[in-house]
Amino acid sequence: MQIGQSEHIYTVSELNRTARETLEETFGEIWLRGEVSELTRAASGHLYFTLKDDDAEISAVRFRSRSALLSPMAVEQGMVVLALGRLTVYEPRGRYQFIASLLQPVGEGALQAAIERLKSKLQAEGLFDPAHKSPIPRFPLRIGLVTSPSGAALRDLRSVLERRWPVAQVFLFASSVQGEAAPSELVRAIEAAERYSQAEAPLDVLIVGRGGGSAEDLAAFSDERVVRAVHGCTIPTVSAVGHEIDFGLTDFAADLRAPTPSAAAELVVPDREEIIDATRARAVWLRQSFARRLEARAARLDGLLRGYVLRLPGRRIERAAQELDGQVDRLVRMVGDRFRDRTRRLQHVREVLRLSDPDRPLERGYSVTFLKGESEPIKDASRVPLNAWIETRLHAGRLLSRITETSKDANTKEVDAN
């Protein structure tokens, strides 16, 4: 075969350059969907990988300078992505490749958009209205949980409750939390919890949730049926979906949103240590308050006993008197000791009285003299006439005598004693 005069003979470089220019012009910037494989992270920070579908593949690269839009770490082997970029040829190797400027997991954008639309719709319907929210009991004892029996949510909830509030009882209503069947299973579990709460003993709170996962993993918690079931549940509900930044629309429909299942447990139950401390402080207060009351009562009684009661106006006297009556028994016990003092004092008085008895000096030899028939003792000789009969009383017995002489002088007296 002859090469014609007009035929252009390409060099390899020229061909590769021409192919590159043609591809770039023809396709411009496009979206490409494929699964990531043969992923290599170069030391330079560039990301080399292959995008493929069931029948074909194309090599791809994302340069570091373009990576700001999505962290290279977020791209994983096996992930189906939507890549925005340009088709080109790497001229030195004649390799046809795709240069991606943006990578995003498939479904994520569409999923987020769908969730946002649903959120607006349910919000307009009033499903997220704060007026619908019921308070969570302060001391829940029967805690319902809708989640997977094998997931992180149950494990986390259990460990928090064991530490903070082991008086609680957890009732698990099992459901898958991701995948096709998850929304209908979640709805069934929430409804079963509702029936259980009504048929058996009421549940104080129902926690609906799961541990962290990808946006698609969490999608069941933004499913309209699940959101409506949470909204319609008469048990106070707590939505606890994924990690801190994750969310499900159930977060808005529930009575309380918790960032994680562990946080749900922390929010819902009190800490037993705090209650034990508070109770201990309360017992101390009771003792002190009671002691103060006893002291105050003792002081008041004291006041009453001192007779202040007599200065009070009529009604208050009556009240005080009743008060006194009511306290008599206690008083008897309280002043029992003083009664013993009084007995002792009585003996003393008796002794004083005995010492002042007029008969007592006669014992020592003194005597008392009366004019016969009179009761007043004679104190003045001049008042006694001659020949009068006088009676002298001694300690033992009496003398009857007749006056023969009287004298004012205490030293001269003559008595005719017969």
Partner: protein
């Protein structure tokens, strides 16, 4: 009595003891009841052990419980 009831009762006792009108005899009874309640609350909280049950709905409205307690 549940913890909540006991705590409520303890609060009520405190209120009554704060009230000057409460008589001495009533105070003694309240004081004793308060201390008993405080001890029982503490014991309940310290001795409790978490129970976890899986609820299985056999037919609609009839349930069985399956203990998931850790041994």
């Amino acid at each position: 009595m549940t913890i909540e009831d006991a705590l409520g009762k303890l609060e009520e006792i405190t209120r009554q003891l704060e009230d000057e009108e409460t008589g001495l005899d009533a105070s003694i009874a309240l004081f004793e009841e308060g201390l008993t309640l405080a001890a029982s609350i503490k014991a309940q909280l310290e001795e409790a052990k978490l129970k976890v049950e899986q609820v299985i709905e056999k037919t609609q409205g009839t349930f069985t419980l399956d203990s998931l307690d850790l041994t």
